[in-house]
Each structure stands twice: as C-alpha cells, then as structure tokens.
Subunit: 190 residues, 2 copies
C-alpha cells in the first residue's frame, strides 16, 4: 500500500519515475530493453514499418492494442511518391523526439516546470555516395544542427546544466554521435 502523493510535473508522474529508478537500482536486469520493428516494402520507394511489442522491465510489453504504422517514401525528386517522410528525415524525427522526452523527464525529476519546448533540426547530406558517384563522401549526414527553444522560469544555470545532462544521456544522440554495431542477415525465400 502506497501513501505517496502523486506529483505530476510537465505531465510526468515524478513519483512513478522515482519508483522506476529505485526498482532498476535494486534489479539492474529490469533495465535491459529490446525494441523491435517490422518493415514491408510496398512499391518503389514506399515501405511501411509496424511497431508494437518490445521487451523491457523483465517482460514483453503488451500495452499497445494496435501497432503504430509508419510510412517511408521518397519525394518525386528522389524518384518516390511522397507517401511518407524519407529515412534520413525519420532520423531527425527520432533525434528531436528523444531530446524532447529527455529534457521533459529530467526537468520533471528536478522540479523544473517547462512551459514550452520546440526544436528545429537540419542535417546536411551529399547524395553522391548513395548514387554510387563518389567514394570520397559518406552516405549519411556529415553534419546535424539542433536549435531548440525552451520557456521556463527556472534559473539559467539550472537550465544549462539540464541541457548538458540531456545531451549526455540521450539514447538517439548517442546512436548518431557514436558508432553502433549493426549486423545484417539476408534470407532468400520462394
């Protein structure tokens, strides 16, 4: 029986956050997560990803009754039909969404109330590697710029320290800034 009073900051239940941290401190295995996605090619540049279950906190999560469906495609200039944002645009979404959650959760944990928060993200990419026209340029972004705006009454030093902390602990920022090993296995069917 819990007698704790619910404290919600920025829409985040800080009591639940502290309980989660405590549970993982006591049993670090609960911190092992495996996220999953399934993608099916539709036509041309268009494919569709479904995301539903994942493993975490010691079990398979079943909280989602329906899968999330994300379309990926290219714009006409890249031979697609605009059925969805393209893959490198989806990377920018992932980064923005990660920084937003990280900022809001960590602000809540510190009792910093955030009134508004928004991000502009831009990434530069030279298409020649993808098109097989140059071995000198990399296929992916050579540079990503994030500019974000926050409205809060918190002291400036606290906000700067929070910003720094969020950058050091953001999963997607780490994935982009640092190497992640990826294994790729192909199976032929039919």
């Amino acid at each position: 029986m819990s007698t704790r009073i619910a404290t919600v900051v920025n829409g985040v239940d800080v009591g639940q956050l502290m309980d989660t941290i405590k549970a993982i401190e006591e049993n670090p295995d609960l911190a092992n997560f495996a996220f999953r996605a399934h993608n099916e090619w539709i036509n041309g540049g268009h494919s569709q990803t479904t995301i539903q279950e994942f493993y975490g906190a010691g079990q398979t999560d079943t909280s989602r009754n329906e899968p999330f469906v994300l379309d990926g495609d290219e714009p006409p200039v890249l031979l697609g039909d605009n059925q969805g944002p393209n893959a490198v645009e989806a990377v920018l979404h992932a980064l923005a969404s990660c920084l937003a959650t990280g900022f809001i959760y960590n602000a809540a944990a510190r009792g910093i109330h955030v009134e508004s928060l928004d991000f502009d993200i831009e990434g530069s990419l030279d298409l020649r590697a993808f098109l097989g026209l140059s071995d000198d340029v990399r296929p992916g972004y050579d540079d990503i710029r994030v500019n974000y705006r926050v409205k809060t009454d918190a002291p400036h030093d606290d906000v700067l320290e929070l910003c720094e902390y969020v950058q050091n602990t953001s999963p997607v920022l780490d994935i982009i800034r640092n190497p992640v090993p990826v294994s790729v296995d192909l199976e032929r069917i039919g």
Copy 2:
C-alpha cells in the same frame, strides 16, 4: 524532347534514375541536400514532429502540400501514454525504411526484379544510462540486428553483391554505424 522509353522496375522509373545520376555527375552541387524537421513538445513524453520542405537538387522542394506529422511518446512502463512509438523505435523504422529503398532502387538499376522484401529489426538498450544510474553503459543501442527476406529470381551472387552494395551506401546505416557530428544550441524564450 526525350525519346526514351519509360522502364519501370520495382516501381522505380529507371530512366529517371539514370537521368538523375547523369545530372549530378555533370553538376555535383545538385547532390547537396539539407533535410529538416520541426518538433513541438505536447505533454509528458509526447511530442510531435512535422516534416515538409527540404533543400536539394539546387532548390527548396515544394512537392509536399501538407507536412508529414509524426508522434513520439513512451509506453506506460516508461511513463508515457503510447501516443506514438518512442525515439529509439523510430531509429529502427528509419533504418528499415532506408535499407528497403536502397535495396529496391539499386535492384531496379541492375534490372533485378524484386517480388517481396521485408525486414525484422531489433535493438538492445540498457536503460541505466538514460536514468542516470550508470556511467558504464552507453545511452543508445549497444547492438542492432537486421534480418531481411527477399523474393526474387535473380542469381544468388547478384543478390549477395547487391546486399553488400546497399550496406555500403545506405545513409541511415552509415549514420548509425559511424559517428556524425551534432551541434546543439539552446535558446530561452519568454
């Protein structure tokens, strides 16, 4: 006046693809793209990304009449409300979507007809860094596994060589496997 006959393979206009490659060979500046995303925090773990214009092929693209809107959120076990997939799940979508497009476009360029193509992707992540519980683990994925299935009549060696080529030229695979510099600037408003 063009007299070329449209050749569509896997839904990709191969003639247009060759024209694009030729145009960029003649003017490499056309290969410079800048992709953009804007994200606004909604509440708790929920934020929303809009994606519409980008710069590429020498101009700002205006082919999209409406922005794509992508929701990001966390599941309840991570203190969210399942309004969308989370940020690290969005990374898996980006990777799958990139490999799908790369496989299909390059298959088309080689005259390889693909009947079906689908991907399962899984990434392992230790949540302790994000929660501030450990400096020994990284915040992002420590490992991503991609398994994909393809149905095609093409000779096996051609498929293997295509698979290898796609891995070497995939923008998102490069972004994940190799470091990308990211600058982050914070502005306080209000």
